[in-house]
């Protein structure tokens, strides 16, 4: 990978990190309603995915995917601030504040929306994929799923149907080692989710989800396979999330240290960039810019109006109006 591309990805990763850090701060201050799951620590996977998905593709983000949402918005619409505004429940959000963190969607940038019933969109993604197949449009339909989410029955129904119909589905499994606090090897017959996916007969690969180059290359390869009409592809990204459980950190200190200090996707990429010839200052500027834009977006979100109350009853049906109170 050349320096320019690597810098771009580094910038994307920093945008995610800054976004999530800013958001987390606001959440803790009580400015963001509801629940919050951050993608901190998983920036490489998200940035690499975003880099390969076109606006004409489709992705179903998982509950930690503000990052990919933001990148899609920036790349295909230039308005990442609308993701922030959505998280604050504002009228300027991508769903006018009706969806929030767990239901941010924007079809114009290929974002088909998170579904907070984990696993449900493993079924839904089939339909988007089938439509592109029937229309002979070479689009990729990507479902981003956590390791824990792979416990759901839709995992089987989805992989099986994608297999028999050779659907253009990219399963991007972000195996961060835990479902809430349950270790992946305790919740699944195998700690390697690919083992559960292999029986369906399409390519399955496991990779280092914190190594931006490996992520970028392997996704490129999978996406090419899918666009060539060769059917589904399953990628398992080994990664780790910063966010613990609400009672606090439950993982061994050594594990935390490994992932946050030795195997952090941004630190790793930074080292690589310096090797490739980037200057530490240059990298510092990228970080600074990401933090600045995040703050701008937070201000934008906070200054945005709340949705018109009429939105409460709007769009229940296409064909009918619903009465207010």
């Amino acid at each position: 990978m050349d320096l320019a591309m690597m810098l771009d990805l580094y910038r994307d990763m920093w945008l995610i990190r800054a976004f999530e850090l800013g958001l987390e701060r606001e959440f803790k201050q009580g400015n963001v309603p509801g629940m919050l799951h951050t993608g901190l620590g998983q920036e490489a996977t998200q940035a690499a995915l975003a880099a390969h998905l076109e606006a004409s593709d489709c992705f179903f983000p998982d509950h930690r995917c503000h990052g990919i949402n933001v990148l899609a918005q920036q790349r295909h619409g230039g308005d990442g601030e609308r993701i922030m505004a959505e998280l604050f429940g504002r009228a300027t959000g991508v769903c006018s504040g009706k969806g929030g963190s767990l239901h941010s969607a924007d079809p114009a940038v290929g974002n088909f929306g998170c579904n907070a019933v984990e696993g449900a969109y493993m079924a839904t993604v089939l339909g988007v994929a089938l439509a592109s197949k029937l229309r002979e449009e070479p689009a990729v339909a990507c479902a981003i799923i956590g390791d824990g989410t792979c416990g759901r029955g839709e995992f089987h129904e989805s992989l099986n149907m994608a297999a028999i119909w050779d659907l253009p589905v990219l399963y991007a499994c972000l195996n961060n080692g835990y479902a809430i606090m349950t270790p992946v090897g305790q919740g699944h017959a195998s700690a390697d989710i690919v083992d559960l996916a292999r029986g369906y007969g399409f390519p399955c690969e496991q990779l280092d989800g914190n190594d931006i180059e490996e992520c970028y290359d392997k996704i490129e390869n999978a996406v090419a396979h899918i666009r060539a009409g060769k059917g589904p592809y399953f990628l398992e990204f080994k990664t780790w999330r910063w966010q613990a459980a609400f009672a606090g950190e439950f993982r061994p200190e050594s594990e935390v240290k490994y992932w946050k200090e030795d195997h952090d996707p941004i630190l790793m990429a930074g080292e690589k960039l310096v090797e490739l010839g980037a200057s530490v200052e240059e990298l510092g500027v990228i970080e600074k810019e990401a933090r600045e834009v995040t703050e701008e977006w937070i201000s934008y979100a906070k200054e945005s109006p709340m949705p018109d109350l009429a939105k409460a009853t709007a769009n229940v049906y296409v064909g009918w109006e619903v009465a207010g109170s």
């Binding site: 079924a123 089938l130 439509a131 028999i164 769009n315 049906y317 064909g319 619903v322």
Partner: protein, 347 residues
């Protein structure tokens, strides 16, 4: 499955999709509607278990696979969540899928996908997506199907905003409502009562729609209004004829769309009669009858001569043994009794 005793088959004469009005069966009317829909909407496809070569368990999709090919008439594995998921996802990008869930009893296996994905899609993303899909499914009892092949499931969805529930009672409406459901940009649960599949009736030829959300007055009357759905409509009409012999004039309102339902037509009829029976096959507690009764009382309290009388199934699962099933399911006699009860009411 050996289906000798099950109500099925595309039979009877028909003049085909393009013809004039003719007498045909409910199954045939549905089949025609699907055929006409497939012809008109290139974005439409059919999906379900053995709906292709076999034509489905009740022959509703018969012949369409041969005509439209396997891309547009798709057999699936026994994966109800994936079937509905495929519908939802494809409808988000402009397709018009029509799924068959073989028996309505099985919708529990795709309940989440219907209730939390299809029904909320348009709302939660504030209009950015639509889910113009139809889920056809065979419901209702009366043929010894037992606890898992006989249920009326409208009650499972009555409290779910965003879903349209359609429930025809005769071949003409079956055709017209199915075409309207296909046209609809909202997700539709389309209920087909198994005991009606062989019912015959006049059906308009060609492409013909019946509006969603509108009840029809199946019989005019002045003394009592019977609001009925699906199989209860022909039963209500029979009961009405019986009542006529006693000098009681019964108006029968065929609800046709269960959600959102047509309150105006009901209330208009009630304003005239002042007495109401609501007849639905599902268990009584928490059923459709409850909603209609509550609404009618709210809006017509002053005009009512007595409380709305509910006719429903008993609050039990559906037993297999025929005489027990007969006890559990409501019939003409129950409607007649309810009409009698309503007539005894006067303030």
């Amino acid at each position: 499955m050996i289906a000798a005793n099950t109500p099925a088959s595309v039979d009877g004469p028909t003049d085909g999709p393009g013809g004039k009005k003719s007498k045909t069966t409910f199954v045939r009317a549905l089949n025609d509607a699907l055929d006409l829909g497939m012809e008109r909407f290139p974005e439409m496809f059919l999906i379900g278990e053995d709906i292709a070569e076999m034509g489905g368990d009740f022959s509703v999709t018969k012949g369409l696979w041969a005509k439209y090919g396997q891309e547009r008439v798709r057999d699936t594995p026994l994966s109800e969540a994936a079937i509905v998921g495929t519908c939802v996802g494809s409808s988000m990008v402009g397709m018009r899928p029509v799924a068959e869930i073989m028996f309505a009893d099985f919708v529990g296996e795709c309940y989440d996908q219907i209730v939390n994905t299809a029904a909320k899609m348009h709302y939660m993303f504030d209009g950015q997506f639509k889910a113009p899909l139809v889920i056809r499914t065979a419901c209702g009892g009366g043929f010894g199907g037992g606890p898992h092949h006989s249920q009326s499931v409208e009650g499972w969805f009555m409290n779910v905003p965003g879903i349209v529930i359609v429930a025809p009672s005769n071949p003409a409406d079956a055709k017209g409502l199915l075409l309207s459901s296909i046209e609809s940009d909202d997700p539709v649960l389309f209920l087909e009562h198994k005991a009606l599949y062989r019912a015959r009736g006049e059906v308009p030829g060609g492409y013909h729609t019946t509006p969603l959300g509108r009840a029809s007055v199946a019989r005019q009357g002045t003394d009592v209004t019977v609001v009925a759905t699906m199989r209860m409509v022909p039963m209500a009409l029979t009961a009405a004829e019986e009542a006529a012999k006693e000098g009681v004039s019964v108006e029968v309102v065929d609800l046709r769309t269960i959600r959102p339902y047509d309150a105006a037509t009901i209330l208009e009829s009630v304003a005239k009669t002042g007495r109401v029976v609501v007849a639905n096959e599902a268990p009584k507690t928490g059923g459709l009858g409850a909603e209609l009764s509550a609404r009618i009382h709210e809006e017509c309290f002053a005009e009512l001569l007595g409380p709305v009388v509910r006719v429903d199934g008993l609050d039990t699962p559906i037993p297999f043994s025929v005489p027990l099933e007969e006890v559990v399911l409501p019939d003409e006699a129950d409607i007649s009794a309810a009409i009698g009860e309503a007539m005894r009411n006067s303030r």
